[in-house]
């Protein structure tokens, strides 16, 4: 049988970084082909190549056995390749009918009655009920996905890629979506199903491929795979040879105590203690809701139950201002959006959250003190820059991350919450950031570190809290944690002890 779509030795480089190396994959009509891998394994890049958004640096894409050049998502759609994502891509101002037929290319005049009928048929074909005249802005995520699937069907889709489609859905909605995926495959569509939920993979898929570090590791019939074998292949690398564990500096003095913290529909029943001198790492996959727990502690997400004791007193979590005044700092994972003012000098960024410290009696900014602070952080954190006046945006990722840490450390926090501290920075800079956070806790603070990078979690965490879909699976002491045990908990293959 000829594969509907095949990747032949595809590599993709972004600058010096190789996102995909020699990736080969064949998709056959009528199969649900699951693809699993850790965060950052190269799944998104692979989808973007299949849907024409990226062009391979080398290698090629074949459709029906002949080489195809997909110049963009329009070209891909015309060849029958479409993708739907965890966050659906709909047009909030248009109604369901218009959303479904937005990619249509034939005909000049819109025949509204015929479009509505066709929209209703498509929605019915995937077994949903949906008012085709409603504007998309009011639809639930599951309904929006249904609209996207209907849009793909309207264009005679032959390869439908579903990227983490159930990550934000309720259990019932997710099982509906899996039913639709199976039905499409039975109709002859090749369904690519990307999921972190292994039980879903075993329920739905015909074949499963593991990718890791941008490389294809294996493709098996689902009957030949076990959850354990998949996890082993996803984690792959030998444990413990990546970063050395920084020695624990934990004391017995409790700084933060969280009991049964819940936020409706987001996460539930999170409980842990954090001691001075300790680094607690939160591990889990995308959709585990770790960032939401951090946002709740920082006063930016409303909680519905539970108590938080901080420095021996109940912590009010009503605004980020309150958190900052209490000495809680939150270093966001999104440097560009929430962390740094890229066009402004390093010095301005470092003093941004603590400007009141640099006011002269007249209320003017004391530039000399500001410069002194910036230089002391440049020295201490080894920020590689000729001076502190250049725009942060011109620094490398690792140095930007250090500026961001400097900004928050300058606040003298007691509790430092860091979300993905080393995403997108090189290995050397990673080790430096690890050492910085360790030095901070050794001086009497405590840190809650969210990381999706398992070697990093094992290198930093004195204890490791594993979350999965808004629930706390376990807290593992460092000595008994391994990449396998964390991954098993995070994917739900091992239940909370």
């Amino acid at each position: 049988m000829t594969p509907t779509l095949a990747l032949r030795a595809v590599s993709k480089n972004f600058g010096m970084t190789a996102a995909l190396t020699d990736m080969s994959l064949e998709l056959f009509p009528g199969e649900v082909h699951a693809i699993v891998g850790e965060n950052g394994a190269g799944k998104s890049t692979m989808i973007k190549i299949m849907t024409g958004i990226h062009q391979p640096s080398s290698g090629g894409v074949e459709i029906d056995g002949t080489a195809a050049t997909l110049t963009g998502s329009k070209a891909a759609r015309l060849r029958g390749v479409a993708a739907i994502y965890q966050e659906p891509m709909v047009f909030p101002d248009l109604d369901v009918t218009e959303n479904i037929f937005i990619s249509a290319t034939k005909g000049l005049f819109l025949n509204r009655p015929a479009m509505r009928r066709a929209a209703r048929d498509l929605i019915a074909r995937i077994g949903m009920t949906l008012d085709v005249d409603r504007t998309a802005a009011g639809l639930s995520l599951a309904e929006q996905q249904a609209v996207e699937i209907a849009r793909a069907l309207s264009q005679d889709v032959r390869v439908l890629i579903m990227d983490e489609p159930t990550a934000s859905l309720s259990a019932h909605e997710a099982s509906e979506l899996r039913r639709i995926a199976r039905q499409l495959a039975d109709d002859g569509v090749s369904v690519v199903y990307i999921s972190h939920r292994l039980e879903e993979v075993f329920e739905l898929a015909d074949r499963v491929s593991v990718i890791r570090d941008g490389k294809h590791i294996s493709t098996k019939l689902i009957a030949d795979a076990t959850p354990q074998s998949l996890i082993a292949e996803m984690v792959g690398r030998e444990v413990g040879n990546y970063f050395a564990k920084t020695p624990s500096t934990a004391t017995t003095e409790t700084l933060l105590s969280v009991q049964g913290l819940s936020a409706d529909g987001v996460f539930s029943d999170i409980s842990f203690d954090l001691h001075r001198g300790e680094i607690l790492c939160m591990a889990g996959l995308i959709g585990a809701r770790r960032t939401d727990v951090a946002l709740a502690l920082f006063g930016m997400l409303k909680t519905s139950a539970g108590t938080v004791t901080y420095k021996g007193k109940p912590l009010k979590m009503t605004s980020s201002r309150e958190a900052i005044d209490n000495g809680i700092a939150y270093v966001s994972e999104d440097r560009r959006k929430l962390g740094l003012a890229m066009a402004l000098p390093i010095r301005w960024n470092i003093s941004l959250a603590t400007l009141e410290k640099y006011l002269s009696p007249l209320g003017l900014i004391d530039t000399r003190a500001e410069i002194a602070t910036a230089w002391s952080y440049k020295q201490k954190l080894n920020i590689r820059t000729p001076n502190t006046e250049i725009a942060v945006g011109t620094l490398s990722g690792g140095n930007q991350q250090k500026v961001m840490l400097a900004k928050w450390l300058n606040m003298n926090p007691a509790l430092l919450i860091v979300d993905e501290p080393t995403r997108g920075i090189d290995v050397g800079a990673k080790a430096e950031v690890h050492a910085l956070i360790r030095a901070f806790v050794a001086a009497g603070g405590a840190a809650l570190v969210i990381s999706s990078d398992l070697p990093e979690v094992l290198a930093m965490g004195d204890r490791i809290l594993v979350m999965r879909e808004g629930r706390q699976m376990a807290i593992l002491p460092h000595d008994s944690a391994t990449q396998h045990s964390i991954m098993a908990l995070a994917t739900g293959q091992k239940d909370a002890a």
Partner: protein, 338 residues
């Protein structure tokens, strides 16, 4: 309430706008003697004939999350260029003259479009600059001379006031009727042609538009070209109505056209709105302006402030109203899902 939720939000907006128009008319008819008569209709309709065209083009641009601040200068240039062409060639075929005005406007629009869509410079910067550039081009081109109505053929200056048909005391003249026809054609095209849907898609969710295989660059380029076309046609109307064209022709039209669109319910962040709304918006803005002039209570120094406040009120009401409506719709669908 049941009726209100059954109507589409777009239809509701238009109804609300008509209601506001009616309220304004009723209010001023109690304040100004002999207010509601044929003359009021004539005055408003001949001025809206020009603004409606510009606001229609502006709406197309705003739908794609952009703005065109150069339309006032394009109107001026097109009016002047068309006027000088007909003064030099008085026997020119009217259709050719109209096409000339359209071509001048489209040319300027395409220039804006290339810079915004393909060079990816923010539209507010491109059109702020081109507003000044096109105006200076007009000053240079005019060589400090003006077009006077004596130099224009009679058919041209008579055209806007030619009666077409009457509805009671309301006399529909050719200028207004022509402009109304253009608005209706664009409205039909925008709601019924497949490619036109892309204006809404690009403004509603640019990322999703790309994923859906829509060429956003081409769509934005088309919006600016059409906005230029509309401004060119408006220049023709401006010439026909006023006859005397100086280098300040069309000054300030850009802001008035944005006001008309926004008052008419076109979302300034793109994605939703209609040219009928912008048309009604243009009427409302003009009606308020004209009526305030005749309303003795407001001194002329405060007129602009009152107009500004009323526009703000209209837009605020519209925003709150549509937000409530969206919340209501979401609640309803949640209930029906249970």
């Amino acid at each position: 309430m049941a009726l209100l939720t059954r109507l589409s939000p777009a239809a509701l907006r238009l109804l609300a706008l008509l209601a506001v128009l009616a309220l304004v008319l009723i209010f001023f008819s109690t304040q100004i003697e002999g207010y509601l008569n044929g003359r009021l209709f004539n005055r408003i309709s001949s001025s809206v004939a020009i603004m409606a065209l510009i606001a229609t083009g502006q709406t197309l641009v705003i739908l794609t999350r952009n703005i065109d601040l150069s339309v006032g200068s394009v109107v001026g240039f097109s009016a002047f260029a068309t006027g000088s062409l007909i003064s030099n060639h008085p026997d020119l075929n009217p259709l050719i003259l109209l096409l000339y005005a359209a071509a001048v406007g489209t040319g300027f629009g395409m220039l804006n479009g290339v810079l915004v869509a393909y060079a990816r410079i923010p539209s507010i910067i491109v059109t702020l600059a081109s507003m000044a550039l096109f105006r200076s081009a007009l000053v240079e081109y005019s060589n400090a001379k003006s077009i006077t109505s004596e130099s224009l053929p009679a058919w041209l200056t008579d055209f806007p006031n030619m009666p077409v048909f009457s509805l009671g005391a309301m006399e529909f003249r050719a200028g207004f009727t022509a402009s109304l026809v253009v608005v209706l054609i664009v409205h039909f095209a925008l709601t019924r042609l497949r490619p036109a849907r892309q204006f809404f898609a690009v403004g509603s969710n640019p990322e999703a538009a790309e994923m859906a295989g829509i060429d956003a660059h081409r769509t934005i380029f088309a919006a600016f070209a059409l906005s230029g076309l509309m401004a060119g046609l408006a220049g023709f109307m401006f010439l026909a109505r006023f006859g005397n064209i100086t280098v300040v022709a069309g000054l300030g039209f850009e802001l008035k056209s944005v006001a008309s669109s926004v008052v008419g319910g076109v979302n300034i962040f793109g994605g939703s709105g209609s040219v009928i709304g912008a048309f009604l918006g243009a009427i409302l803005v003009d009606l308020l302006e004209t009526s305030l002039v005749r309303w003795a209570v407001v001194s002329e120094f405060w007129r602009e402030a009152v107009l500004g406040a009323l526009i703000l009120l209209a837009v605020t009401t519209d925003t709150l109203f549509s937000r409530r409506l969206a919340a209501l719709g979401a609640r309803k669908s949640k209930e029906s899902a249970k």
